[in-house]
Symmetry: C2
Subunit: 205 residues, 2 copies
């Protein structure tokens, strides 16, 4: 796209580097911003400068935070004996939004994926082992993707955690809540039969 | 979405105000930016501050520019006797990308649309009349949307421009280049038959 102004071109290029945004959409974004008050556009730019200055990773769980330790790790009402291992910060938000988990997290920053050149040393595994050494955590929940890479990472982690006295668990796999059986894939349906649970467990508490 | 950090929440909110971007996509954008080098994130923020400072509207044609007069109006190689009237800055870019037009533009900033509360006085029509008073322009091309609102605006403009000695024209309406006839709507196909052109005109020059 050949734009008339250099700074306009630059703004479009900045948006176009975002995932799933092409040059036409980026141009639409810029025109949308330009229609706003100058004050709001300044606020938009400043927000990302602040983001760069303030955001860092929690020294305990590698969640994103603007302090040294994130709000979840700092919250003393949370159950400090349970650690939920997730791939990504987005997963923390997803699990938090369920309102069903009151323990702590540990963000790996990815999963083991030899094809993408990601090995165990690229992930935050050593800090997880350090956290377990304190003896406080009693359970580690693996909440990784249910893909081959996720399973590989689960297996690797389970080996590394053998030496600690912690219970290991993974998320239940089964049919979606509200989903029809005819749309559930065979692997999931098979697994949900093998791992069937007593009926009274499924009743909401 | 309940995020862990205030500045993160703010960044997500800023993205989520863009057209077609929800909170999940906005969060994905922010995480994408956070994975980059701090320097690049700072550049991202600064680009929009510069945009706010530098971008304004061309005093002649109301195109976006970072100078008083836009590059198109300032370019003396362009044909100053022809003015193409468009709705929006995006249309200038679209027409420029065809490489088929060498005249000037006039950006109305919208079209007459009583349902949306846009009347003639909300558009840059008076400045267009002023430009014509110089006597330099000899042709005005209406390149507005082919909707009822676009036709209304064309009609209003044609009345206003009657008193000037200029030729008025509109974009040709007809079947798309590369389009199958079976997918062309009846109105367009009908119009393309009524306004059929000598065969030799369609050969590329």
């Amino acid at each position: 796209m050949n734009l008339v102004s250099k700074v306009l071109q630059q703004a479009v290029d900045e948006f176009a580097q975002l995932p799933g945004v092409g040059h036409k959409t980026a141009f639409r974004f810029v025109l949308h911003l330009l229609k706003k008050e100058p004050e709001e556009l300044r606020k938009f730019g400043n927000t990302f400068l602040q983001l760069q200055e303030q955001v860092r990773y929690c020294t305990d769980c590698f969640n994103i935070t603007d302090k040294d330790v994130c709000d979840i790790c700092a919250d003393h009402r949370r159950d400090r004996t349970t650690i939920c291992v997730v791939e990504d910060i987005r997963d923390v938000v997803s699990i938090e939004n369920t309102d069903q988990y009151k323990g702590l997290y540990h963000v790996l920053g990815g999963i083991i994926s030899p094809l993408d050149g990601v090995g165990p040393s690229d992930l935050n595994i050593a800090p997880l082992l350090e956290r377990l050494q304190s003896g406080e955590p009693k359970e580690v929940i693996f909440a990784l993707s249910t893909t081959m890479e996720g399973d590989t990472t689960n297996f690797y982690l389970s080996r590394q955690l053998q030496k600690f006295d912690v219970k290991l668990s993974t998320l239940a796999r089964g049919v979606s809540v509200g989903g029809g059986l005819e749309y559930t894939d065979e692997l999931t349906l098979g697994r949900s039969l093998v791992n069937r649970v007593p009926y009274e467990n499924t009743l909401a508490k």
